[in-house]
């Protein structure tokens, strides 16, 4: 037996006439290649434009932000950042306190690279004097999201002169993240990354929105259609009308980057933003908007270490840093009721935050020292901050199996001085009404017996002894 027939080394082109395509002169071959290329490009461009028009959501939040930005008649203060910025800072509140003319150019998942682009635009277009960069902790770690990078630029290009649009496209294709990946080529087809649901209804609604031409109505109805969101809109700001009442339908990792180092690229871009503002005489405020208190508790020391580094960078480059998560209660009265979902502020929370930020900016520009308004990034400050949290941020549980019984161990993420009570409920994994397995008690564990059933859905709730009005819970399936 032979292990392998030695395969042919090279597959020579088949010589039979059926494999020969054409035999022509060099000139006709070149003509054929050029005409193929030209016609392919024409068809590709036409189809691409058609798909962009029909599939790219006319009423997206990013389109709305750029559209309204282009319509501005005056601007001296710009807010940039991700959805944290878009949902947290209301330009009207800033204008009321500062007498400014501001606009919120925050967009969903906006990366620091795109914040840079937005700032550059505002500087070039309006020679702004003040910029607010909203930057949450996770921004330091997260990879750029291709979909939001591409949609941000494609919406920006829509009302730009051709030369600027081409420049933006080239910048996107050649940025550090895209250049060595397929995004650098596929970003030429923005509809592929950012499209309405590809159903007859989805496409028809989008075409209808385009034809109507009312972007505000289109944005509102698109949000209703896709996420069921209801919101108020003002100068780029989106105030979410829903309030989180403690529900967490799934287990959520509040500290996915706890053990990671800050990304080099992110840090470099942050420095570029600081330099851009400094070189153009723009007063930059780097702001960490309020988010779930659980995120801070779960990240622990890593949070103060990393954000402390950002504060240091801001100081070195002439920017001002405010971590509104660590604002004292008298500066920003937050009590756990200000979230709309797990991480974003509701309209009410945003109003309080915007007023507090405006006051801090006013005081800073008046030469006042605002450092006393925050808990500092040191051990004492961190301990004081923990002690100040009077409510439960979130709750999670762990499971231990022991000879047929299951021990649920609940853990609330909360302030250090709170006494926590827990409650456990169960039901069938298929749904139905909850059955109380154990009512409110100071014990955080429950021995659960699964008799016949192999699995069960549990709901673990937690609240402080003092405040029964803020209850947080989590649900999950436990199996034998």
């Amino acid at each position: 037996m032979s292990f392998l027939k030695r395969p042919e080394r090279t597959e020579r082109p088949k010589g039979s006439p059926r494999f020969r395509m054409f035999k022509s002169s060099n000139r006709s071959v070149a003509k054929r290649a050029a005409s193929t290329l030209a016609l392919t490009l024409v068809i590709l461009l036409a189809l691409n434009a058609l798909l962009c028009w029909t599939l790219t959501p006319y009423g997206s939040k990013t389109n709305l932000a750029w559209h309204d930005y282009r319509k501005l008649s005056a601007l001296d203060t710009i807010v940039v950042g991700s959805s944290y910025a878009q949902n947290s800072i209301n330009p009207s509140e800033l204008d009321a306190v500062l007498g400014s003319q501001s606009f919120n150019l925050g967009t969903p998942d906006q990366s620091l690279d795109n914040s840079y682009v937005a700032l550059q635009s505002a500087i070039d277009d309006w020679h702004i004097k003040r910029a607010v960069l909203c930057m949450e902790y996770d921004t330091l770690y997260s990879e750029p999201i291709a979909q939001s990078e591409i949609s941000f630029i494609s919406y920006k290009q829509q009302q730009e002169p051709l030369s600027q649009a081409l420049q933006d496209q080239l910048s996107l294709m050649s940025n550090d993240y895209f250049f060595s990946r397929h995004y650098s080529l596929t970003c030429l087809f923005p509809w592929a990354y950012n499209h309405v649901p590809i159903t007859p209804d989805g496409i028809a609604s989008n075409i209808n929105d385009h034809l109507q031409g009312d972007i505000h109505a289109a944005a509102s109805s698109y949000a209703q259609r896709t996420d069921g969101d209801s919101w108020d809109y003002n100068e780029g700001f989106i105030g979410l009308n829903t309030t989180l009442h403690g529900a967490c339908t799934h287990r959520y990792d509040y500290a996915p980057y706890k053990d990671e180092e800050i990304k080099h690229d992110t840090w470099w871009t942050l420095q570029r933003i600081c330099d851009l503002c400094s070189n153009n005489g723009v007063k930059l405020y780097i702001v960490a908007p309020p988010t779930a208190v659980s995120s801070l508790i779960a990240n622990g020391e890593a949070y103060s270490k990393r954000m402390g580094a950002v504060q240091e960078l801001a100081t070195q480059t002439g920017a001002t840093f405010f971590d509104l998560n660590l604002a004292k209660l008298e500066t920003l009265p937050l009590d756990g009721s200000e979230l709309s979902d797990l991480i974003h502020l509701s309209a009410d929370g945003a109003a309080r935050t915007s007023v507090a930020l405006a006051s801090l900016i006013r005081d800073t520009e008046a030469g006042l020292d605002t450092s006393g308004s925050f808990y500092p990034y040191n051990e004492d400050g961190w301990n004081e901050y923990f002690a100040s949290i009077q409510y439960v941020g979130s709750v999670d549980y762990s499971v231990k199996r022991n000879h047929g019984s299951i021990l649920l161990e609940a853990k609330a993420l909360t302030g250090s001085s709170n006494t926590i009570m827990y409650q456990f409920e169960t039901r069938s994994p298929e749904g139905g009404t909850w059955t109380l397995a154990r009512t409110w008690d100071l014990s955080s564990s429950l021995d659960l017996r699964l008799n016949e059933t192999k699995s069960m859905e549990v709901r673990v709730s937690a609240r402080t002894l003092q405040r029964g009005d803020i209850v947080k819970w989590v649900t999950g399936i436990v199996t034998k």
Binding site: M1, S2, F3, P7, R18, A33, I43, L44, S180, T186
Partner: protein
């Protein structure tokens, strides 16, 4: 840094290289190889940084110096023999020089391995762009495609099959030629070197054909590999364990075949197409493996140049090795010549496939995967005469279409069973998956099981519409090739509007598929160094 084949960075590199290549080629055709060499070295720097460049140069230098030493030893032997008429003395000289050549050969091999280990230590000390991929310990050590190619050159020089190349720069191009280093093939010096030095000038048809092939490969990667990766993770990582549904395990291995074929053959299509643009035709490495009629045939179609390498440099020497020779002599007293040959070949075949398994992946399960292939091939060779007799007895025409189809299906099932060992991450998980698949294949509806495992596109069993379209396209194209119909020629023969429309639609399809899932991306060049 991650570098993908389908990226502006790579296209920019390629475009610059092509322009330089043809401009230089116009004025000084004999210098085109220098452009290729500089381009290939730039490619290594692009993918692996200066350390990557240093590694390929060091490996090439060691094997080049080693091959020259071996050659000079042979020359010295010939000179010494010329000076004497005494046959006994000649034999003694030959023996002495053979010992020296063997010593030099082993020393060169050791030095080559030491170079790889040293660079690996350096790489680990300083994060290295081309970090480890999913290849096994042999590949992880650095026995990647270009190293195997350099070793084949060294061994061929040792065996006096080829004369060593006196010019290091020319040899360096043979080792580092960039279209061959990411996923093969392992080109052989005697068949390939002349092409590198005197590439042909491709005509318009060949260029269009090469571009079509590059597009076809890109489509496979973006619409199949990129999308199915999600289902792979759901089955082989999330769901793996004692409770994996049998249906899910079967589904996973079937899909893995499609996934792996699309990834490897897609990369090969792109890189072989690129090589065609330079007028250089590389050895084919993936030739429709799912149409194989036996496991042996499968390995002649799947990464076939690795199979040839193993045949020539591991299997052959093992078969001729001292321990096996007396075994053959002893068996010949009892058994027929054919049975003896088959039985003696069992040991080297099994060893070769265990090595192939370890080249592909880390862990005992990959060794078992290789062992499984080795044993099946050995057993099928042993029982082949019995089957021939049975076919004659039952009057089954072995050349019939039905029998051919049966063999294809049978080989596919055997290959899929083998993948249980390769895919499930550990022997433990592979065993449970295989047991559940065989004993209880319908324990849970497939879609529910996939959903539970977290496959994003479980509603289409991991297949999106672009994936299904491109899978169909690949199937049709492969069937056409199997039937000796050139699918590319058919497309190239269409009228211009039809051709241009097809190209535009396929580009849009690729873009749409690329955006659906971005985990795998556009052909990662990770495996250049591992």
């Amino acid at each position: 840094m991650r570098v993908e084949l389908i990226s502006l960075k790579f296209i920019t590199f390629l475009a610059l290289l092509l322009v330089t290549y043809y401009v230089i080629g116009h004025f000084a055709p004999g210098r085109r190889w220098i452009v290729l060499l500089l381009g290939s070295l730039s490619f290594f720097t692009l993918v692996g940084g200066w350390l990557g460049l240093g590694l390929v140069v060091a490996v090439a230098l060691v094997t080049w110096v080693g091959s020259l030493l071996l050659y000079h030893e042979k020359k010295a032997e010939e000179a010494a023999c010329r000076n004497t008429e005494d046959e006994e003395k000649k034999e003694l000289i030959a023996k002495t020089h053979l010992r020296k050549r063997r010593r030099d050969f082993v020393c060169t091999l050791m030095l080559c391995l030491a170079t790889l280990v040293a660079f690996r230590i350096l790489r680990d000390a300083r994060p290295f762009p081309g970090a480890l991929g999913h290849h096994g310990p042999l590949a992880a050590l650095g026995l990647c495609f270009y190293v195997l190619q350099a070793l084949s050159y060294l061994i061929d020089t040792y065996r006096l099959h080829i004369l060593p190349q006196p010019n290091f720069a020319r040899y360096l191009l043979f080792v580092s030629y960039f279209p061959q280093v990411a996923c093969g093939p392992i080109n052989r010096y005697d068949a390939f070197f002349d092409q590198l030095m005197k590439p042909r000038r491709p005509n318009g048809e060949q260029v269009e054909r090469a571009l079509l092939r590059i597009g076809y490969g890109s489509l496979k990667i973006l619409a199949i590999t990129n999308i199915l990766h999600n289902a792979m993770v759901a089955v082989f990582q999330t769901a793996a364990g004692p409770n994996i549904a049998g249906s899910l395990a079967i589904f996973g291995t079937v899909v893995y075949g499609i996934f792996a074929y699309a990834e490897f053959s897609g990369m090969a299509d792109i890189l072989e197409g690129i090589s065609e643009l330079f007028g250089i035709r590389m050895a084919p490495n993936y030739r429709r493996p799912f149409f194989a009629t036996s496991l042996l045939d499968f390995w002649g179609r799947w990464n076939s140049t690795l199979g040839t390498w193993m045949h020539d440099y591991v299997y052959g020497p093992l078969l001729a090795s001292r321990p096996l020779r007396p075994l053959g002599t002893a068996l010949r007293n009892w058994l027929s010549e054919r049975t003896t040959k088959t039985l003696v070949a069992v040991i080297p075949t099994t060893i070769v496939f265990v090595l192939v398994g370890l080249w592909y992946g880390t862990g005992a399960h990959f060794a078992i995967w290789g062992l499984y292939h080795g044993l099946i091939i050995s057993i099928s060779a042993l029982v082949a005469p019995l089957f021939d007799k049975l076919n004659n007895l039952l009057k089954i025409r072995s050349a019939s279409v039905g029998m051919h189809a049966f063999r294809i299906v049978r080989t596919y099932v055997v290959v899929c069973i083998g993948w249980f060992f390769a895919c499930f991450g550990s022997l433990h998980n592979a065993w449970f998956a295989l047991v559940n698949a065989l004993t209880n294949p319908f324990s849970a509806p497939l879609e529910t099981a996939l959903n539970k495992a977290g496959a994003t596109y479980a509603s289409g069993l991991g297949f999106t519409i672009p994936t299904l379209l491109v899978c169909t396209l690949v199937l049709v194209s492969d069937i056409a090739h199997e039937r000796n119909v050139d699918a590319s020629a058919t497309v190239l023969g269409w009228k211009l509007p039809a051709r241009a429309t097809l190209y535009a639609v396929l580009i849009l399809l690729a873009a749409y598929a690329a955006a659906l899932d971005t985990t795998m991306g556009g052909g990662d060049l990770l495996h250049v160094f591992s």
